[in-house]
């Protein structure tokens, strides 16, 4: 298994704080700006980076991430370009873990074995493939783990203990707990309930637990960081890109607005 995730979570534990996972969509709003955003994330305070692979039909995502995928695709995003982007990031950063998140069809077309080999060789650490539940583990999960990439899965408020054990079975790297029933970027969770659920998941796994969906502000990041090992922010970052675009900002300005927001979020964990 690639080791960046494990090393990073151990370091966070020593520091005594939760990590910040930032989500961006590859190629949003265009390849150059997206790379500029990506390159500045670690310095702004991202501990782990999750990169969305754009898909035309992201059925588990809310409007913010749908629109970001659409912007990226309209400006020429592709699987090959997403991998290229990770590759150029790795030229200067070999420590920050990178997780690719997306839907199965683009990988299926790319060819699963080729995709896994390309991903690990350019420095990807794990995959979250939204529409591959444990029932479909033969499609990619087993090969992914054999290749040495982490297979990260979502748990949800509706995962009962039975379901949890099948979800956790082939999980590695960390567990991504979805804070709300619903899609990305919509409502926010009740903190007490969330904490209780995370506690329940801990009784079944020793993997670190990241919490995401609906996290928008520094205060939410701080609250969740008290009991989770990492906090994921996605739609709110992607919305920052959207709002910068609506004001016609230049590439550097778009990137620095995103980075400023990441700094603000990261401060909630320090």
């Amino acid at each position: 298994m690639t080791e960046r995730l494990q090393v990073r979570f151990e370091a966070l534990k020593k520091e005594g704080r939760a990590g910040l996972v930032t989500f961006i969509t590859a190629g949003d709003p265009n390849p150059e700006t997206s790379l500029e955003i990506l390159n500045g994330l670690p310095e702004a305070g991202a501990d782990i980076i999750e990169i969305g692979m754009p898909f035309s039909d992201p059925m588990a995502d809310g409007p913010a991430i749908q629109l970001s995928s659409q912007r990226a695709l309209n400006n020429g995003a592709s699987m090959a370009k997403t991998l290229e982007m990770v590759s150029s990031f790795r030229e200067n950063d070999d420590a920050t873990p990178i997780i690719l998140m997306g839907y199965f069809n683009p990988i299926y077309r790319y060819g699963p074995p080729g995709f896994l080999n390309d991903a690990i060789s350019i420095g990807v650490d794990g995959l979250i493939i939204v529409d591959l539940p444990p029932e479909e583990d033969d499609e990619l999960c087993h090969a992914c783990l054999t290749t040495g990439l982490n297979w990260i899965r979502l748990t949800t408020p509706t995962s009962d203990n039975n379901r949890l054990s099948s979800v956790l079975k082939n999980s590695s790297g960390f567990v991504y707990h979805v804070a709300i029933t619903g899609i990305t970027g919509t409502r926010s969770a009740e903190i007490e309930e969330l904490e209780a659920t995370v506690k329940r998941i801990r009784t079944q796994t020793s993997l670190p637990i990241a919490v995401g969906f609906g996290v928008k502000s520094q205060s939410q990041v701080r609250d969740i960081g008290r009991f989770a090992d990492a906090v994921v922010v996605g739609s709110a970052l992607v919305n920052t890109v959207k709002s910068a675009l609506e004001r016609d900002l230049a590439k550097q300005q778009i990137a620095s607005e995103v980075h400023d927001f990441v700094k603000e979020l990261a401060a909630g964990l320090r």
Partner: protein, 407 residues
């Protein structure tokens, strides 16, 4: 031979327990959706053979929908084409004007047994939306129908019908604002309303058990046809033809005949402006296997796995995928899949109006266009059965527009 042994050489034995027809089908959904799918599956397994449930379906099918639908000998069309005898299975005479209500009835009766108090659905042409809105009115359940903005414009009469029936129609603007996006949006609604909501999918696609469930509800078409043709002709037809959007009317007619090797079966996809223009909705003829909306099946897509927009003059066929069972039957070679262009469908539409006094929907007009190609090449003692799965009232504006007439 032991008669209780499973028939493994049957085309009718799928799907397996995990919902696969060969490599097609399955359950490709987010974990957020998985508990819901499993709950539907448990209910479906519990009730699918339940006498009380089946009696309920039969009661409403007979007294409310008007089943059985006639198998009608289209005498003038047969004479006009001067070849094989043509029969129409007249599901356009069902209440609400298409086969879609066979399915919404089965699903809402299941939803009631699951104590679900809110119904959602997606729709393209609006026929499924109307059929869902209708049974929701009948059983007094609130209903939300997701419909692409593009389809709302071209199917205005159906949008108003849904409103009259008390349904909320939500315009979908994401993606390409058509049926596939309406389905994405319905799935998003479902994961956000896990406790009380049942999703009535309109065709034999989606995650397991939907493709199987929808097929079972629609197979009433084929079962009746079998009885009727035996009664009228004392033999099975030589050829059966149906149009394919997601494939539910087709699988409903075909399924009871899949193991009758003397019956040739033909599915007709929407060829739009022609397959080589790229402007079509023919997933089998012009697509490749992929994964969308919870199942593996043939899809219109680019080399990067992004889903392509479908095109058809008929909103009900305008979907970039097809039910997984059809993908399997295609690869098995059991069913022949062909395509018919917008223009050919329009021509067939007009022939049907004038020779038979039946205004067909644009969807079965595709099936009819293919019947018009093959009937003249067949002998007069041969028999074709075509699924007349919908009536054309909803399409008169589209057709007027295509013929350059102002209403």
């Amino acid at each position: 031979m032991n008669s209780t042994a499973p028939i493994t050489d049957s085309y009718r034995s799928g799907p397996d327990d995990s919902g696969h027809f060969g490599i097609f089908g399955g359950r490709f959904v987010a974990e957020t959706l998985m508990p819901l799918i499993l709950e539907v599956d448990r209910a479906w397994q519990k009730y699918r053979n339940d006498e009380d449930y089946l009696a309920d379906i039969r009661y409403y099918a007979e007294h409310y929908v008007g089943r059985p639908s006639p198998l009608y000998f289209a005498k003038r069309l047969t004479e006009h084409l001067d070849g094989a005898k043509i029969y129409f299975k007249r599901d356009e005479l069902n209440h609400t004007g298409s086969h879609k209500i066979n399915n919404t009835l089965g699903q809402i009766l299941l939803a009631r047994r699951m104590n679900k108090h809110r119904i959602i659905a997606e729709t393209g042409a609006g026929q499924h939306g109307v059929a869902a809105a209708t049974v929701c009115a009948l059983f007094d359940l609130p209903c939300v129908v997701y419909m692409g903005e593009t389809d709302i414009e071209r199917q205005a009469p159906n949008v108003f019908r849904m409103k009259l029936l008390g349904t909320e129609v939500v315009p979908v603007t994401s993606g390409t604002a058509t049926l596939k996006d309406a389905m994405n949006e319905a799935l998003r609604d479902w994961v956000a309303n896990v406790e009380d909501t049942f999703y009535i999918i309109g065709t034999c696609a989606g995650p397991h058990p939907y493709p199987e469930m929808v097929r079972e509800f629609q197979s009433v078409i084929g079962r009746e046809t079998r009885e009727q043709i035996m009664q009228y002709e004392n033999r099975l037809p030589d050829v059966m033809v149906a149009c394919i959007g997601g494939g539910s009317n087709a699988i409903g007619l075909f399924h009871p005949f899949l193991d009758d090797s003397d019956v040739d079966i033909i599915g007709v996809e929407a060829g739009g402006m022609g397959i080589d223009t790229g402007q079509h909705a023919a997933s089998l003829t012009g697509g490749q296997p992929g994964v969308l909306h919870g199942n593996r099946t043939y899809l219109l897509q680019n080399d990067d796995g992004q889903i392509r927009d479908a095109h058809s003059i008929s909103a009900g066929l305008d979907y970039p995928g097809i039910g997984p069972e059809h993908s399997w039957l295609h690869e098995q070679g059991r069913i022949e899949y062909v395509s018919v262009t917008d223009q050919e469908a329009l021509d067939a539409f007009q022939v049907c109006c004038r020779t038979e006094g039946i205004i067909p929907a644009l969807e079965p007009s595709h099936a009819l266009a293919h019947v018009m190609k093959i009937a003249p090449t067949m002998s007069k003692d041969q028999i074709i059965v075509m699924n007349m799965c919908g009536r054309g009232d909803k399409d008169v504006f589209t057709v007027a527009d295509a013929l350059g007439e102002k209403l």
